[in-house]
């Protein structure tokens, strides 16, 4: 446990160096590698986050409509959908999707590279794994998490609109104006900040666990599970803390 924390903070320290100091010492970020990772970590996650966000939006609208109808207050459905999506659900659900498909794959890939001596080979070839493998993944995650979240918000709202428009007979203009009435731009900003922080947590945990795999194929499997569990817990705890800080 203590060893895992030590490895994690060692990785974070090294990450800071390679992010902010190394580019000024003639070791720039690898833009090509970063784009490749953006596609793998971010773009390929779009369909799944879209579908998830759509169902969340639909469910939110249906549940709130069912309750608010009793009070004759279905007018609040758009606001409820938009504020809960933007402030909480879109960043959180996107994080869960990204942990499941991208965080786990980062750990598994790095872990496999570790046990098959590829990471050692990079070191011996004087190609720092931090620069070659970790920084591109980090940048890709930190760029793509907020973008995926924006996309999830949009698709989630569309889900809410589907219910509002076809079931509650709201016009599109009515739905949109009421949805926007209950959120401010700062809410969007905080939602995106949250997702950025989740991105940092996911990618650092995935990389730290992946780089420290030992014990062959079994080790890779265990590490991938651990990476997903630890990332999920960290994101949920961070979410609670951030909500308390910004909204409570």
């Amino acid at each position: 446990m203590i060893e895992a924390f030590r490895q994690y903070f060692a990785l974070c320290g090294s990450l800071l160096y390679w992010l902010f100091a190394a580019p000024f010492r003639g070791k720039p970020w690898r833009i090509g590698h970063t784009f490749a990772q953006i596609v793998r970590i971010g773009v390929h996650a779009v369909p799944m986050s879209a579908l998830t966000a759509l169902t969340i939006g639909v469910v939110l609208a249906m549940q709130s409509a069912a309750q608010l109808a009793k009070l004759g207050a279905t007018v609040y459905v758009p606001g409820l959908v938009s504020s809960s999506l933007i402030r909480e659900l879109a960043p959180l659900v996107t994080a869960v999707i990204v942990i499941g498909r991208s965080g786990s794959s980062v750990t598994a890939e790095l872990g496999t590279m570790k046990v098959s001596e590829e990471i050692e080979a990079l070191e011996v070839m004087a190609i720092p794994p931090m620069s070659y493998l970790i920084i591109p993944r980090f940048l890709a995650m930190v760029i793509m998490m907020p973008l995926l979240t924006v996309f999830s918000i949009y698709v989630g709202l569309t889900g809410g609109w589907l219910i509002g428009h076809y079931s509650l007979n709201m016009s599109t203009a009515y739905f949109v104006s009421h949805a926007l009435q209950y959120v401010e731009l700062s809410d969007v900003g905080i939602g995106l900040l949250k997702s950025g922080i989740f991105g940092v947590l996911i990618v650092t945990i995935a990389c730290s666990i992946g780089l420290n795999v030992s014990g062959g194929a079994e080790g890779v499997g265990l590490a991938t599970t651990r990476s997903v569990v630890v990332s999920l817990l960290s994101v949920f705890i961070a979410n609670a803390v951030l909500t308390a800080l910004f909204f409570f």
């Binding site: 098959s116 590829e118 050692e120 070191e123 011996v124 070839m125 004087a126 190609i127």
Partner: protein, 293 residues
Amino acid sequence: MTPNAPDSAAEPLIEVNSLVRHFGKQKVLDGVSFKVYAGDTFIIMGGSGCGKSTLLRHLIGTEKPTSGSIKIFGQEITTMRAEALQKLRGRYGMLFQSGALLQSLTVAENVALPLVEHTQLDAGLIDTVVKMKLEQVGLTGHGHKKPSEISGGMKKRAALARALALDPPLVFSDEPTAGLDPIMTAVVDELTQRLTQKIGATVVVVTHDMNSVFRIGTRIIMLGTGPNQGKIIAAGTPEEIKAHPNPAVQQFINGDPEGDGTDDSGELLYRETLLGINDTGKYSRSAIQSSKP
């Protein structure tokens, strides 16, 4: 000292002094000392589990010793900072036992990697060098394949091509011929010889393939197993090793199941490593022998 200039005979390229490494309570390397001079094909041999791969990992700087010193190109690497070690690593190539090709790249991209990273050559020239290196190891026409699509022996040869991409003055090689057929073993051995004779490179090879040892070795050390775990039990030229009085050395060279490397009851002293068991009583000697090729 420029990377390609042969060092003076008086100054060793690699100097290891009283190297000790513990893993927990186990002493894997125990006071290992030797020198490698420019132009040598230096062989580190010994039975499975004797610590020869661990020794190699110390030489390339990926493992830190418990105590002792390692000087490469006259620089102490055990206390070296990461950045200085990085620079030094540009001057040697390493062939890993498993090949350690990057699975995400094709064979040609793997060989090109050191050139792309450490030289300013344009893409066309890199392409030519890669083709040349692949031809040297008999992999012409396989450059576009992913490592998962080629055989183990081919992976090893591709990895050798990658280790030689920058024409390093010093090459480390971990079991370069394990898993290769006799012809490819000869090809790899010949390539190693050509490295030292024509390019003037120095090669450090870890192996237990006795044919290779005497075909290419100019200086040899042997690490012991059992009670001599991690100690050098023999050192010298191929002739000296062949005539070495230590029965354990003779037994190893001749691949004899019975001898000083086995204890009184005839059990191999390193049987635990061979079979991965502790309970020796259950396994007869014949079972152990039949597990040997």
